[in-house]
């Protein structure tokens, strides 16, 4: 009996020790936590490759700058915003924050980010960055985010299919009429095996390109900036193509959302024309298909008309308003955005560098891959052909996008006529934007 009790007591003591030892050790588990007090924290989002490269960048900066230690915090995109919101609310956000345009509006207006105007031109040099890019990181004329890379809307086409069918590749100054003609040709010449193009009638980015070509836009001052007639023309354009097989039928279109790469009609070889944001060309399209994909400017309204495209920063760097080491953080932002070392490490991982200094460094290098060359050449072309960017999207733009998708699907599935759909959409979208 006594021996049994002893053994039990021994086990209990052992269990307690076994539990407490690692717990005490856990207090010191992460030495980085202690260093964080005199270092600069930098948070970023993206896939493992992107996070790996940015982490490497932080290390490079630390090793080349004596009195600064960059501490990197990386999170997958979908969860990054929840985490950032928690950190902001808890008063523990990083010094340098990788951020997107809608959040600059949100956090900048709430006073959580610092205006970068007092750090330009020294240490942050904004001259090498295209004006059309810079303004997208501004709030009421003040710079809150420095664009680091850019993404541009382009029209992608399947070179392999076009060559097999003996069709000419689209050129830079093609029009929406040329686009429709090519789409119908693809359908006919392939013996109705594939459709001509994707169906972007419910996609706000594509509608925006179409509208900007006509001198209109999606939004201005938080209201819709296009006419009923323009939207009617857009829906009728795609309805006509749907009837001839120039675009994919409603059921296929409903299953392919931009960003769901493996289901995209271009990857599945259901269609030979589809829009591509430049950073997605490689990973979202070219890597998933054996056919060759190339990109060109999106169609215009008329041969001598404006092209609707504009460069959009894929992400920005912002400075936390509560940062204890703002000067060091600002110096890092400049090094990241304009530096040769940063450009060489990041390459085109989120699109070409927003700074022309960064792009020059890459162009001088001799190790460019085929899709990197495509994107760099296209970016040059797009910058030459682009007009002033649109105003920042209103907060309700996501909801308006959902409305457009819904109404485009109702039209495609013949649930509603275009004549009825357009006024209904304009009214619903107007209400959404008014916050009613």
């Amino acid at each position: 009996m006594t021996t049994q009790l002893d053994r039990r007591r021994f086990l209990q003591a052992g269990l307690a020790a076994g539990v407490l030892a690692p717990l005490l050790a856990a207090c010191n588990l992460d030495p980085a936590a202690k260093e964080a007090k005199n270092s600069v924290r930098f948070s970023s989002y993206g896939d493992p490759t992107k996070l790996g490269l940015r982490s490497k960048l932080a290390d490079q900066y630390t090793s080349s700058h004596q009195n600064v230690k960059m501490v990197f915090e990386g999170t997958a995109t979908a969860e990054y915003w929840d985490k950032l919101a928690t950190q902001m609310a808890g008063g523990n956000a990083p010094d340098v924050i990788n951020i997107d345009a809608p959040r600059i509006g949100q956090y900048g207006a709430a006073g959580a980010l610092q205006s970068l105007d007092k750090y330009t031109p020294d240490p942050i040099d904004t001259k090498p960055i295209d004006h059309n890019l810079l303004v997208q990181g501004q709030l009421k004329g003040e710079q809150f985010g420095i664009p680091v890379a850019m993404s541009t809307y382009s029209m992608g086409y399947d070179v392999t299919v076009l060559d097999q069918l003996g069709l000419e590749h689209p050129n830079e100054t093609w029009t929406w009429a040329d686009f429709a003609a090519l789409a119908n040709q693809i359908r006919l010449k392939s013996g109705k095996k594939i459709y001509g193009a994707e169906d972007p009638s419910g996609d706000t980015a594509s509608l925006q390109i179409f509208l900007r070509g006509k001198g209109q836009d999606l939004y201005k001052d938080n209201t819709l900036a296009f006419t009923d007639a323009a939207l009617t023309e857009w829906f009728e354009y795609w309805a006509a193509l749907r009837a001839t097989g120039g675009t994919i039928p409603a059921d296929i279109a409903a299953q392919s959302k931009y960003g769901d790469w493996p289901n995209s009609p271009l990857v599945k070889k259901q269609a030979a024309l589809a829009h591509i944001q430049t950073p997605n060309l490689k990973g979202g399209f070219q890597d998933l298909t054996k056919n060759t994909i190339d990109i060109t400017l999106p169609p215009r309204n008329a041969k001598d008309g404006n092209c609707g495209t504009f460069p959009a920063p894929s992400s920005f760097l912002s400075l936390n308003a509560k940062s204890q080491r703002s000067d060091d953080a600002a110096a890092f932002i400049n090094w990241f955005a304009n530096g040769a070392e940063a450009a060489k490490t990041l390459r085109l991982i989120s699109g070409p560098p927003a700074s022309s200094a960064g792009r020059d460094v890459l162009l001088k290098g001799s190790d460019l891959s085929a899709s990197e060359k495509q994107v760099l050449a296209y970016t040059d072309l797009a910058l030459k052909n682009s007009a002033a960017p649109p105003q920042a999207s209103p907060a309700a733009s996501t909801a308006v996008g959902d409305l457009l998708l819904k109404v485009s699907q109702d039209i495609a599935f013949n649930k509603i006529s275009i004549k009825q759909a357009v006024p209904k959409f304009m009214a619903d979208a107007g209400k959404t934007l008014d916050g009613k």
Partner: protein, 286 residues
């Protein structure tokens, strides 16, 4: 006579066959996504979505090797982190929840009913309402970016569900055993350690298993409190493979997802019978 007996026998047999067929069909529908995931992890990236057949043409381990090392640090570190947190959480819950449950089930103290009600109320409090206040608290304690916020609360009996489970279980242990021990000269601590604790075996196992699985699968708190790549856990690291703004490595994602299921799967296989036992004996039957 014989024909009379044979007819219902045959009918019963056909009915049993039909039931089994329906069940097997149901199982196939349920298992298909899992098979698809396992199969996909062995396929080439471009074949994953273009083939309906869940079985790969060859066993290709490329995704596993690439996935394990795709992140910096590798998954070895993430598994160590996940296991450490899960094991500490299990220890904390087992120690703290049994003590608390014993107090609620057996001891008399002032305000017991109120405390019990508060404890039950905390089950119904949504985690989102607590998120920011907890974060602020842990931040001011200097615990953010350590494992402490994930582990220490477990040692303070914050998992009300397990306390409730154990209270229900301890109530089914006959009080006469306590009384007998008291006559032999046992105090409250000894009654706990010699009578109650040894008899709560099944419910302890249930607590351990569920704490392990829930902590291992817990995503959000690990995301919020751990910021450095080297302290990340498996579920958080898995999310890195899918990204709307860049490349998604589906092959590696599927391969690592398969591996991430292994610990839960092993725990469940080993303890499946005990889980049922623990639930069945606590009076929590539906």
């Amino acid at each position: 006579m014989t024909t009379l007996q044979h007819a219902p026998e045959a009918r019963r047999r056909t009915r049993r066959w039909l039931t089994h067929l329906a069940l097997i069909a149901g199982t196939l529908v349920m298992v298909y996504p899992l098979l698809w995931m396992v199969g996909g992890s062995f396929k080439d990236e471009s074949d994953i979505f273009s083939q309906l057949n869940p079985f790969p043409s060859s066993l290709n381990l490329r995704s596993y090797i690439a996935g394990w090392t795709a992140t910096d640090p590798t998954f070895t570190r993430f598994y160590i982190n996940s296991m450490l947190i899960a094991v500490l959480a299990v220890a904390g819950n087992v120690i703290a929840c049994t003590l608390t449950a014993y107090a609620f089930a057996r001891l008399e103290f002032r305000g017991k009913k109120v405390f019990f009600a508060i404890m039950l109320g905390s089950i119904m409090l949504p985690a989102h309402a607590l998120l920011i206040p907890q974060y602020v608290l842990f931040f001011h304690l200097g615990w953010v970016n350590t494992y402490l916020p994930l582990v220490v609360p477990k040692f303070l009996a914050t998992d009300a569900f397990f306390i409730f489970l154990m209270v229900q279980f301890i109530r089914t242990i006959p009080r006469t055993l306590d009384e007998a021990a008291m006559i032999d000269g046992c105090g409250k601590v000894r009654i706990f350690s010699r009578i109650i604790l040894p008899l709560t075996g099944p419910v302890l196992i249930t607590t351990m298993i569920f704490t392990f699985i829930w902590t291992y699968n817990d995503f959000f708190s690990q995301l919020i409190y751990l910021s450095y790549p080297s302290s990340e856990t498996v579920p958080v690291a898995l999310r890195r493979f899918v990204d709307a703004t860049g490349d998604s490595s589906y092959g590696q994602l599927l391969a690592m997802s398969v591996l991430s299921l292994v610990p839960t799967f092993i725990v469940f296989l080993l303890a499946q019978r005990r889980i049922v036992e623990g639930i069945a004996t606590t009076g929590l039957k539906g």
